[in-house]
Amino acid sequence: MTTSFNRKEVARAFAHPAAAPVLATTLERSVESAHRARAEIEWESLRSAAHDVKAYAIENLDRLLTRFEAQFTQRGGIVLWAPTADDAVAHFLDICRRHGATSVVKGKSMVSEELGINEHLSRAGIDAVETDLGEYIVQLADQRPSHIVGPALHLSRHDVGKLFAAKLGIEYTDDPEALMSAARTRLRARYMQAQVGMTGVNFAVAETGTTVVIENEGNGGLSSAVPPVHVFLMGVEKVIPRLADVPLFVRILARAATGQKISTYTHHFLGAEEGKTVYCIIVDANRTKLLADPKTRQSLYCIRCGACLNVCPIYRRAGGFAYGGTYAGPIGAVITPQLTGIEQAGELPFVSTLCGACQDECPVKIDLPHQLVYLRHRAVEHGYGRASMTSRGIAAWARAMRDLPSYRRSVRWLRRSAALGRRIGWYPGVLGAWTKARTLPEPPKESFKEWWERAR
């Protein structure tokens, strides 16, 4: 899987300058709502407390996972462990086969996106449908989510109207209520016929073996309650120690994500009721690589609120697809290189201005900028950028600065080149990107040293 920064997507974003302000405005509205909601509570002390709980959970992950497993099992659930992404997919397919499933309804889950569950199910002849409206839209459009919380944020109502007209056969409308209604009608039928429902997990409580899923639409509730089989899909990092910690995270998650005081539905799943089979697939898939490195361990504290994306100047301009993988924005630039390999995604940590807005915004106080810098070092150690223009430029600069005669020769050459360049007016290749919109400054006729010797 290639997860390098997708220049085609960046070019596409810049080729449609009208779209960028729409995305930025939408995100800015989210940030303003979040700040209003945060101002009502003791935000700073809560994010420190949340940071401490997550730190404890991650540093005691083995104990908490085994406790969660024991408690979840006692509640009638079945825990399956997946060291790799392939193991997780194999577990899911096996569950579907065992229960004769031909139809699966899915609540929102980033792990599912990461594992490509839909594609695997489709190849196995199992029809899987996303039920979160944003996810449903991007599935119909054959795209990936562009934002953790708002998967279809990149599409306008006009785009969705055209998509629904083409894919669902309804009359074109750009009314969000009518579009939601069309999706609702179709998805209701799917809930009723599905044999397996799948949801992600926001928090898995070790003390009680209960799982917490937070959502607004009710699709998580229906995906878990209607089909006779419910599968939770969660990364190893989702476990928290106590039920009493849940209110803390409930208080901060929605405020950071959407600016709501609380999401519409906070489900605490207590266990398999009569007639129900419940599984929990616990996925590693390289998360232990993040865990093993003390400098990136903190990224496992992430509660997937998307707040760092909303404030990131790069994300705001380039959009989610530019990041090339499941996780976009600053958190994506940190975790993707670890999940997929620094050789594959070593470019992503460079996709940041290091302005620090992401860290300021993070509800669990993840130090993203320092992790980005650290991963840049690692990427360079792995050979990233050796053949790049920057690298060649720095090598040329090093040669020029080697001694005084080299420096003087280089400066003379640069001055003459710049004077010549002004006459050409346009440069080919990457230099053209600069001269297309700018005029080279007029170089001085003599150097400072020449002027000084003449004028003193």
């Binding site: 969000p176 699709n219 229906l222």
Partner: protein, 219 residues
């Protein structure tokens, strides 16, 4: 399967090897305390917060007034049929709802539940600062109630009202978990919603389009 379990746990332990002196005690629990506000004041706050998320709250004196107020609300929404959660307060109010086709949810299958106009649930705790209601749903039909009908009515005792998600408010969930109860505890805040298209708010995404909470002062 055991091999997979061992591999994951071994990888986790190996990854944490640098933390040999790690602390074994978790940080103190962050709790949110009750205020000294009266229940009446909290009820007003609850109503304001619920209204802010497009729900509505009615504060009623007793069960009879609750049934009358609920009947009026349901008639206003064109409700004819009601499916009721298997809980004492909800069943008690349902008995007093005259003129409606009322059934216990446990006696209906999911298709029948979907055809019901309204769900009637009992909240075990209410949160004033968010306008939220906590319902405990122990069987599949009850679990479908908060989503399938287009209208959702919730009844609760005034005594179950808390300032926020305090340990007392959480007790109904922790007690259910401790008792080994199955199903789910659901904190519901207003009608179902989405803003996935251009951040435009749409109510009634997959669940109800309208939600009302009836707070009974003397149940």
């Amino acid at each position: 399967m055991n091999d997979a379990r061992s591999r994951v746990l071994a990888a986790v332990r190996e990854a944490l090897i640098d933390l040999s002196g790690r602390t074994s005690a978790p940080p103190p629990v962050t709790t949110f305390g009750e205020t000294d506000e009266s229940k009446a004041s909290l009820a007003q706050k609850f109503a304001t917060e619920l209204q802010a998320v497009a729900g509505s709250a009615m504060i009623v004196r007793d069960r009879a007034e609750c049934a009358a107020s609920m009947a009026s609300y349901l008639l206003g929404r064109g409700v004819r049929s009601v499916a009721v959660q298997s809980s004492p307060l909800a069943q008690g109010i349902a008995l007093q709802l005259d003129g409606f086709d009322v059934s216990s949810a446990v006696k209906l299958d999911r298709h029948e539940l979907e055809r019901r106009d309204c769900a009637l649930l009992e909240a075990r705790s209410l949160l004033a600062d968010t306008g939220s209601a906590t319902v405990i749903l122990n069987n599949t039909q009850d679990r479908l109630l908060p989503y399938l009908p287009r209208t959702c009515a919730i009844v609760a005792e005034l005594g179950s009202l808390h300032a926020t998600l305090t340990p007392q408010a959480l007790a109904c969930i922790s007690d259910s978990a401790a008792s080994g109860a199955r199903g789910e505890a659901l904190i519901v805040t207003g009608p179902s919603r989405t803003a996935d298209i251009e951040k435009v708010l749409v109510l009634g995404a997959h669940g109800p389009q309208a939600l009302a909470v009836f707070i009974v002062e003397q149940p």
